[in-house]
């Protein structure tokens, strides 16, 4: 269960990205999570709620862009239609060995930020 540590780190990076925008709240953080990143997206969304609870970002949402890995046969090419989490030992068409690529993403992609007017500030 390292998702809590990751959630805190994601919020730190998101806050860093909007640091020069003044006061405000994070609305959405969009991240990429690969199939081979050793991260469970549901747990991460749950951890996010805990990481932002009681802060100005409490209402924010973590959006996960799931990136599947690819299993490829040297002869037949990429195996299409493989369900996430199910792996093939050998190519179902020709029985040849497969290779795995991609799916190790764990990136912060984008932050949506709502600026707020500081209390007692620019109300004229």
């Amino acid at each position: 269960m390292h998702e809590m540590g990751l959630a805190i780190e994601i919020r730190r990076l998101a806050r860093e990205a909007v640091a020069d925008r003044g006061p405000g709240r994070i609305e959405i953080v969009r991240i990429a999570v690969g199939e081979l990143s050793a991260v469970e997206p549901d747990l991460l969304e749950f951890a996010w709620e805990a990481a932002v609870a009681g802060t100005e970002d409490a209402a924010s949402k973590l959006e996960v862009d799931f990136r599947p890995a690819r299993q490829t046969c040297r002869v037949c090419g990429e195996i299409a239609g493989r369900a996430p989490g199910s792996w093939l030992r050998l190519c179902p068409r020709c029985g040849d060995a497969l290779t795995v690529s991609g799916g190790d993403d764990l990136d912060v992609l984008r932050v949506v930020f709502e600026e707020t007017v500081p209390a007692g500030g620019a109300r004229s």
Partner: protein
Amino acid sequence: MIEVDVKQKVLAANATAAATLRARFEASGTLVVNLISSPGSGKTTLLERTAAALKDSLRLGALEGDIATERDAERLRRMGIPARQILTGGSCHLDARLVDRALAAEGRALAALDILFIENVGNLICPTSYDLGEDFKVVLLSVTEGEDKPFKYPAIFSKAAVTVVTKMDLLPYVPFDLTAAREQVRSLNPAGQLVEVSAATGAGMETWLGLLTQKLAAKRVKTRAGVASA
């Protein structure tokens, strides 16, 4: 409402710390091995046997990651190699900053080694994500765990350069399909090496030790090339 493109690795801070460690290990010519497996699959026992076989010819050392107890570091110190325990409290993995702090605290005993073993917290998931500045990851799979583990924990089996199947002496007594295990590992990691050992009988240990000394020799060539070009 403003949208800001970030495009940053979540683990960028760990990656920076790991890169610093890697540069340091490069300069000292130390081969660093990050061992990952379920609890009880035989990481410490494999290291005990490795220490017994190599400690007279090579300078070995170990960092032992656990949630609690000094037990593993003590076991390796008894084998005659310097070892420091890293207690994570409750955290399920080691990160590069913990490794850096442990090395700094230990000082000379763990500096200028030929091989540094980092035994991660027993867990097949979380340690996978954290680069520790190692040369390669080793994943252990004991025959008592079942042959389905590579497909169940694909991240670590696809990333580890070496898979060690342990407790091979128990194979006759457990329903472990060795062919299926081999095929699953090969499917996730075609370029990886697979070693099958029994620390109890010593079977397969020559292959494991040979692999280590061969990787160390390759690292030394690389270090010398680095010194020459500096």
